[in-house]
């Protein structure tokens, strides 16, 4: 019996990231033709800075969606994490490193709670995180007392600093985001843990019977996602230079948008984290490009909506043809 590998061109077509990538390239081309400022290194650096927070959130979101879950609370958790870091560092005078660690731990903690509720009582993730969204939102405002926290120690804003690549200033935060994407692409694609996440998303029962510790894995995925939200919180804090209780309110759905645009299936078990990066960039490129063209913000919302539907529709239709 001959074992053949799928040929490269075939794999390119069948990979779920092909569609989004083509969309990204086309959009970039369009804006490059319509706005002279678009196709510059500094503008790309900017776009990455602008999507890095949502993009990082969307890494955690991807993990959860791959297990056939969903997280409506990721932005809220991030906001809380940001307040914890900055408030502890500024108001309580904790050493910055400790404050950051505490913020990360709190985010991971919320992830853990989500995971336990999903796993122990087998509640639908949609409901758990819908409830959590309200809870964490309220806690953020109660804990922060609505105060924006300023005058942050340098460690908390370090990721907002830049270094030069050629002519272009790049923030350390952008670099960290890219590295995180690569890390998770590796973990999902080349380790046993990654395989197990996909298997879990395909069918928890099959995964369990195969000997995968699905309960531990589920809780682990949610906790890890929480930790990633914590990193997003640090990125947010270092980008804006403040701890802002109002942050992240639109990021819950925006992160899902990025994952979906990136070709990952909401039913779990199918998709790539690199697709999520592409998805986040698509949104960022459109928002930036339209703004450079002088299109009012409300049209950006309109176009994002059309884009979400279109991207998935084209993907669906092309798959149908390929069958």
């Amino acid at each position: 019996m001959a074992v053949m590998e799928a040929t490269l061109p075939r794999r390119l077509i069948t990979t779920p990231v092909a569609g989004p990538t083509i969309a990204l390239v086309l959009a970039s081309l369009f804006f490059a033709l319509n706005s002279p400022q678009f196709l510059t290194g500094s503008n790309f650096s900017l776009i990455i800075q602008q999507v890095m927070v949502v993009g990082t959130l969307a890494i955690g979101q991807t993990l959860i969606i791959l297990t056939a879950g969903i997280d409506l609370a990721c932005g809220a958790i991030m906001a809380f994490g940001g307040i914890v870091m900055t408030k502890l560092a500024v108001d309580s005078g904790l050493p910055p490193l400790l404050a950051v660690a505490a913020g990360l731990a709190v985010c991971a903690g919320f992830g853990l709670v989500n995971g336990l509720l999903v796993m122990k009582i087998s509640l639908p993730p949609f409901i758990v995180t819908l409830g959590m969204l309200n809870v964490v939102f309220a806690l953020t405002h109660i804990y922060s007392n609505e105060q924006t926290i300023t005058d942050l120690p340098p460690l908390l804003t370090f990721l907002g600093q830049t270094f030069q690549i050629g002519q272009t200033n790049v923030t350390y935060g952008s670099l960290l985001t890219i590295l995180l994407f690569l890390l998770f692409a590796y973990l999902l694609g080349s380790t046993a843990w990654g395989r197990h996440v996909y298997a879990l998303g395909n069918s928890p029962e099959v995964a369990r019977l195969t000997g995968i510790r699905t309960r531990r894995l589920t809780v682990g995925v949610y906790t890890l996602a929480g930790l990633v939200y914590g990193i997003a919180a640090l990125l947010l804090v270092s980008r804006t230079g403040v701890g802002d209780p109002q942050a992240g309110q639109t990021d819950n759905l925006d992160s899902i948008t990025a994952v979906v645009l990136g070709g990952t299936s909401l039913f779990g078990g199918r998709g790539l984290v690199i697709g999520t990066l592409v998805g986040a960039l698509i949104v960022g490129v459109f928002r930036n490009g339209l703004q450079l063209m002088g299109v009012p913000s409300i049209y950006q919302t309109l176009i994002t909506g059309v884009l979400v539907i279109l991207a998935v529709a084209v993907d669906q239709l092309s798959r149908r043809r390929n069958r």
């Binding site: 706005s35 400022q37 500094s42 503008n43 900017l46 800075q49 602008q50 927070v53 405002h141 007392n145 609505e146 105060q147 924006t148 300023t150 907002g160 830049t162 200033n169 947010l236 980008r239 804006t240 230079g241 403040v242 802002d244 209780p245 109002q246 942050a247 309110q249 928002r287 930036n288 703004q291 450079l292 002088g294 009012p296 913000s297 409300i298």
Partner: protein, 309 residues
């Protein structure tokens, strides 16, 4: 319905405060002021807020519930200046004193009284200031606005243009973006504006968080020294930013005073049955350490002494 206000004979009279959101220091301060004043005047304070700026439905629900709870008076910062009017009318018909704080209803006489900043004037002041500070340099203006359809934002924006002496749609305004008064959205908006028109030299911002976002974006480009940022609010964080030169000038408003005066008016009504009326301008002061001739201003020492948040 009706007669809700009559069944409170045995208990302390109640006053309600309804703010636009609960997620803005401005309103937190306002609530604190109201709380203190309520205690001082022997009232019990009930508070409520919308879920987001512009959330009319929640404010209506809050009015109804407060009337049901038997409040004597309601202080409200209307999220939607027109949309809230019918609900206010019902409350007033039930004998409740309704006072608008911060933002007038449309029409203004839909409430018994109004204690507020003149938001148009607040914008005008920083517009005039900017005009003088630019000293004839050709201006390239970015406006970082609030959100579609919220009157305070519109009034400040219009006042700014009037004060600066340019008509709406003037080509010197090279970039306009909504920021929801949010710092990170303000930053993104400014970054993109700079990308579009790198030679922007004047930034109008709806409030100080947006101004700080703009500053962060300018600093990243090394432009923070040669761009003038003007803003509105006068929160303590904002005044400190004026002091350190991040913001050139801001129009300070006085939410504590709005709240105190409002509660006081309700207390009077409870005692004497006399209703407050008309518009009380709670004042607005231009705060800057680099004053210009022709525009009256106070320095940041004054600003810090009178700031909120």
């Amino acid at each position: 319905g009706g007669g809700g206000g009559t069944q409170t004979a045995t208990t302390t009279p109640k006053v309600g405060l309804i703010t636009k959101t609960e997620t803005n220091p401005f309103f937190v301060k306002m609530k604190e002021g109201a709380q203190k004043s309520a205690q001082a005047n022997g009232l019990e304070l009930m508070s409520a807020a919308g879920k987001f700026d512009g959330d009319n439905a929640s404010q209506i629900t809050a009015i109804e519930n407060m009337v049901a709870a038997g409040v004597k008076g309601i202080l409200i910062t209307p999220s939607d200046t027109k949309a809230i009017v019918p609900a206010i009318k019902k409350a007033r018909d039930a004998g409740v004193l309704v006072i608008a704080l911060d933002t007038p209803t449309d029409p203004q006489d839909a409430t018994d009284a109004l204690f507020a900043t003149d938001n148009f004037k607040a914008g005008e002041l920083i517009g005039q200031y900017a005009k003088a500070a630019m000293a004839g340099k050709p201006a390239k203006i970015a406006t970082l606005d609030l959100a579609p359809g919220v009157t305070v934002g519109q009034l400040r924006h219009d006042g700014f243009l009037k004060g600066f002496g340019v008509p709406a749609g003037d080509p010197s305004v090279v970039c306009s973006q909504d920021t929801q008064g949010d710092q990170s959205k303000g930053q993104t908006a400014m970054e993109n504006c700079l990308q579009k028109a790198p030679d922007i030299n004047l930034v109008y911002t709806i409030n100080e968080p947006a101004a700080m976002g703009a500053y962060t974006a300018l600093k990243a480009k090394g432009r923070e020294k040669d761009v003038l940022i003007v803003s509105v609010d006068g929160g303590c964080t904002g005044v400190k930013a004026v002091q350190s030169g991040q913001i050139a000038a801001t129009s300070q408003q006085y939410p504590l005073k709005m709240a105190e005066d409002g509660v006081k008016a309700v207390a009077d009504f409870a005692k004497t049955g006399k209703k407050a009326s008309g518009y009380t301008d709670t004042g607005v002061t231009l705060i800057t350490d680099k004053s210009v001739t022709g525009v009256e201003a106070k320095d940041t020492a004054f600003g810090l002494a009178n700031c909120w948040g």
